[in-house]
Symmetry: D2
Subunit: 340 residues, 4 copies
Amino acid sequence: MMIVIMDAQATMKEKSAVIARAESLGFKIHLSDGKERTIIGIIGDKRDLDKEQIERMPGVERVVPVLKPFKVASREFKPEDTAFSIGEHTVGGKDLIIMAGPCSVESRSQIIETAHAVKEAGAHVLRGGAFKPRSSPYAFQGMGEEGLKYLAEAREETGLPIITEVMEPALVPLVCDYADILQIGARNMQNYALLHAVGKSQHPVLLKRGMSSFIEEWLMCAEYILSHGNTRVMLCERGIRTFEKYTRNTFDINAIAVAKHMSHLPVIADPSHATGKWEYVAPAAKAAVAAGADGIIVEVHPRPDEALSDGLQSLKPEKFAKLVEDLKRIATAVDRHVPE
Amino acid sequence: MMIVIMDAQATMKEKSAVIARAESLGFKIHLSDGKERTIIGIIGDKRDLDKEQIERMPGVERVVPVLKPFKVASREFKPEDTAFSIGEHTVGGKDLIIMAGPCSVESRSQIIETAHAVKEAGAHVLRGGAFKPRSSPYAFQGMGEEGLKYLAEAREETGLPIITEVMEPALVPLVCDYADILQIGARNMQNYALLHAVGKSQHPVLLKRGMSSFIEEWLMCAEYILSHGNTRVMLCERGIRTFEKYTRNTFDINAIAVAKHMSHLPVIADPSHATGKWEYVAPAAKAAVAAGADGIIVEVHPRPDEALSDGLQSLKPEKFAKLVEDLKRIATAVDRHVPE
Amino acid sequence: MMIVIMDAQATMKEKSAVIARAESLGFKIHLSDGKERTIIGIIGDKRDLDKEQIERMPGVERVVPVLKPFKVASREFKPEDTAFSIGEHTVGGKDLIIMAGPCSVESRSQIIETAHAVKEAGAHVLRGGAFKPRSSPYAFQGMGEEGLKYLAEAREETGLPIITEVMEPALVPLVCDYADILQIGARNMQNYALLHAVGKSQHPVLLKRGMSSFIEEWLMCAEYILSHGNTRVMLCERGIRTFEKYTRNTFDINAIAVAKHMSHLPVIADPSHATGKWEYVAPAAKAAVAAGADGIIVEVHPRPDEALSDGLQSLKPEKFAKLVEDLKRIATAVDRHVPE
Amino acid sequence: MMIVIMDAQATMKEKSAVIARAESLGFKIHLSDGKERTIIGIIGDKRDLDKEQIERMPGVERVVPVLKPFKVASREFKPEDTAFSIGEHTVGGKDLIIMAGPCSVESRSQIIETAHAVKEAGAHVLRGGAFKPRSSPYAFQGMGEEGLKYLAEAREETGLPIITEVMEPALVPLVCDYADILQIGARNMQNYALLHAVGKSQHPVLLKRGMSSFIEEWLMCAEYILSHGNTRVMLCERGIRTFEKYTRNTFDINAIAVAKHMSHLPVIADPSHATGKWEYVAPAAKAAVAAGADGIIVEVHPRPDEALSDGLQSLKPEKFAKLVEDLKRIATAVDRHVPE
């Protein structure tokens, strides 16, 4: 269903061509022929008519789609919240889920030490990168499978389910062998081959928003995963790139409420990337919970100044423990609950 | 104090010229002559050496200022929070100040009805525009002085102090005759003649951040006002313009904590403009308080669908009353307090 | 004329209310009642129906305006290009107009020396700031009226008409006494009191685009000036603020062709601010002419490294002379002409 | 080599720790102990010291890297322009290379018809997508290998080398079997696994800038490819995402001159994506050549209104032929040459 606004100078022939095209595709037409403009309504429930196919016809000024381009991800398709289990807890319901851990797995002892620390502080999921997207080819790229093994050991020791990033389709089976949740990073949000691969895997997925993605594009990427019948998708707002440069990214706090309004999927916030500086992680995390996030994912490192990546935005375990306490108070104030 | 990074190809003569220039201005030099680059430190406490005067000298690659360009507005200048009275309450302390009212004053009865409604719901200050900046010259431009008179009447009836926008230097005395707080709108943040005028007025000022202003520029504009000895300045984050177009603006929630970190001035959040849609005003307001805002300013209209401006982002009084209750809970969770 | 898209859940009562509202304002209705959505076309030629007044009614999902909000500035209103005299030349026709001079007037000798230099190199108009908008209250703010006098002297000596910025309504009469063209700076694009004042002055105006203004907003600001019957308005693209930080601004080269497509007004490009670094001024200026600009305004300073403002982006006279030669070649390649 | 600016409150112990860390990594130290700030210069030629490792140490305010993070891609590494053969022509030298063709290969006859048309009009390379990144999983995703075969047929018939996009590492060998140049799309600019794969392939690569990538990040992605010894890399500016929404993207014309200044690699402009509307493709293409681009890549479709993707921004062959004539004139005006 879309609305076609014709040019002021559009000819009868051009108008007829648009109508003929739409009718030939099985749509109904609703014509409004005004003094200043002719408006053509194209009516039908097929979502796959490409707006552009009409927009580029001669005499067309612009086309306004009436329906959202995503379907399975939308509230209209599924009005009630999606909730599913992550370890012993449920994401997308009343509980607030806290994921924490280092940016990168750097050694067996580092990840196991951190896992114990975040568990004790109250985290429900352990994060840690084994494959790292780095802007420089000369920077540390992660420990790879060895890192996955250490994560699995940390899970065994603490009982925390693990989330880790997967960066290429060929590695999805390997990462699925170890991880409880697959993370798609912001740079790969529109890596469609990867989205298909994680969709097929049927593993729970945390889909980070691309750093300059419209909310609608983000939901369309969720749709890629959902289209394979993999319904356990979490959206993750992690800050967008704007003109402001004091913080690493601009935390789009509005996006949390908007995503929950447009979609039934759980929304997680990443205050570490959204700010890029540890001093601002706590206020951002509290804001996210107040705005309705279903969980947060935070970088925690026992010795941030020795971290091999992103230490600048990592909390020390004691600051993280304090943050969890603060989040419990905020959660209560918005009728949510941080499970023990 | 600044650091000059010379080009790899800079000549001895070019380096000497930079040094001579800085020394002639009374600065000391600290030279670091490396294999790949020469670095010249320019040391001295005068903040008025223009970075660009050095940057444009031949052989200079770039100049890094070490100190912030603002002074009186900075935490370094005044480490403790600035707090001052607004009516019976204090902004910048433990109290959370709530300002509410319609976008525009539309009639005597409208503003008086709204004043009573927001007071009853718990607001501490009444907002209402008498002079309106509108993108179209053909749109309603506000009631002018008549609107100011109705605001003053509303204050008399309810006891609420009033805040209203002033848009040009010539009108500052008139607006001061009626208003308790002057508002500088986002479009006028860098209207320096206006900043000088409100600085001289010695009236409390709420300074909205420009829609694409760096946080540093915003503080520099506060500096314009403070430079006249007018210390009662509140900063107001009202959303920035980014690529995302689903919401009217992107609420830069990070800016609240950053501004409070860099400056001692109180920070107010405007969730109405920061989202542009009433459905998202409540989550944004709650997030702002969780992030550490000292107050919020919200648009409330008894019949938003009849408002002459910005009705789309206005709350009805009953929704506003609910929001105040919610904010009380969040305030408590961050050790703040909404005064009765 | 606008199109109203109702919510999927909108009730009959809500639909009727929208229709009744529009009809009560004298509009005709065109109803399209689909299975998934109801669409209401509101038809009539009054441009002053506020989109928001409808958008905020219950049950309305969104409103799509069919017509542009500006009128006198639009090509629909006046299909042929606007052209008018600037000194001995005409802007908006086949000629390419070149304006050049220092960011600020710094002394009598500096502006007169520069005026001779840019005239010799081929400039048609002399630029120079007497009142300077500066981000810091402690920076050089311009020479004021003294600067205007020196500009007038430079005009007398060289015959070049002068353009200079005016920053506040109260100073418009003074600046008109000296200047041939008034410049509205980017920070003041939406300073409506100032737009009204320059509109009333009937002086030619160069209106710089605000650094985060939509092209439509820029044209609406031109409309403010035009609404006073002052038709001699030039639009000036000077770069917008984006995430990219290597250049001072991002030169929106598309905006030149778009503004000329939407409006009949001449479009001038400012490659100095659009890049912020003198090395990139020449490629940007050439690109602007190739894209269809009617003129350029460039910063030239005899000794950029001694300039009191914006020296970093200023060309030396010999580089400017070379640029004028290059622009002549580009102008010929796009069937334009740089007058001698 | 980097400069460390310590906090005003940094302790002696914190300063010593930074110095000790840098010295332990084999760097030399240059200390500047001022009244307001201590500055520590870290000197040495290893580019792999992570700025963040220092930045996150206690007492550090910020770290300023002196050298660019990319090496092989930089002008410092290789001052002279990189030029290499594409079919019978050379990109990166005096010649201006024109690549043209449809967004997608849609059928054998469509691509062959277009190939003949663009060749006749003066193109040197045929473009056409066989694997298409689409925001919707329900949209046409390209013809896949069949499309590659038709492209190869078109090359055989016309002699034009072909460029086509590759979207996943696993498909690099297949695409190399058919294509002369591999294209990395904007969405995949930071798909590092893909960059490694095309680097290893030793095929010429056109690397599109990500839609919100800093110029430096773009060059770092080129560095990924170059690090495999694949030196035939072209950079492609295709517009960035900004607040302006009238055009599909904002064409960052400055980036052309900046990339050529920072790097020795050829820079190609894509005016089709940079504007998104065919009316603006010609001015953008002309601007790109005037600004110094080494070539352009343009979408051409025999019947844009029937195109399966991006028809809105496609030129008809006759408009493209006119554009080539116009570009020849601009090329001459900037001492370049469009080879026959």
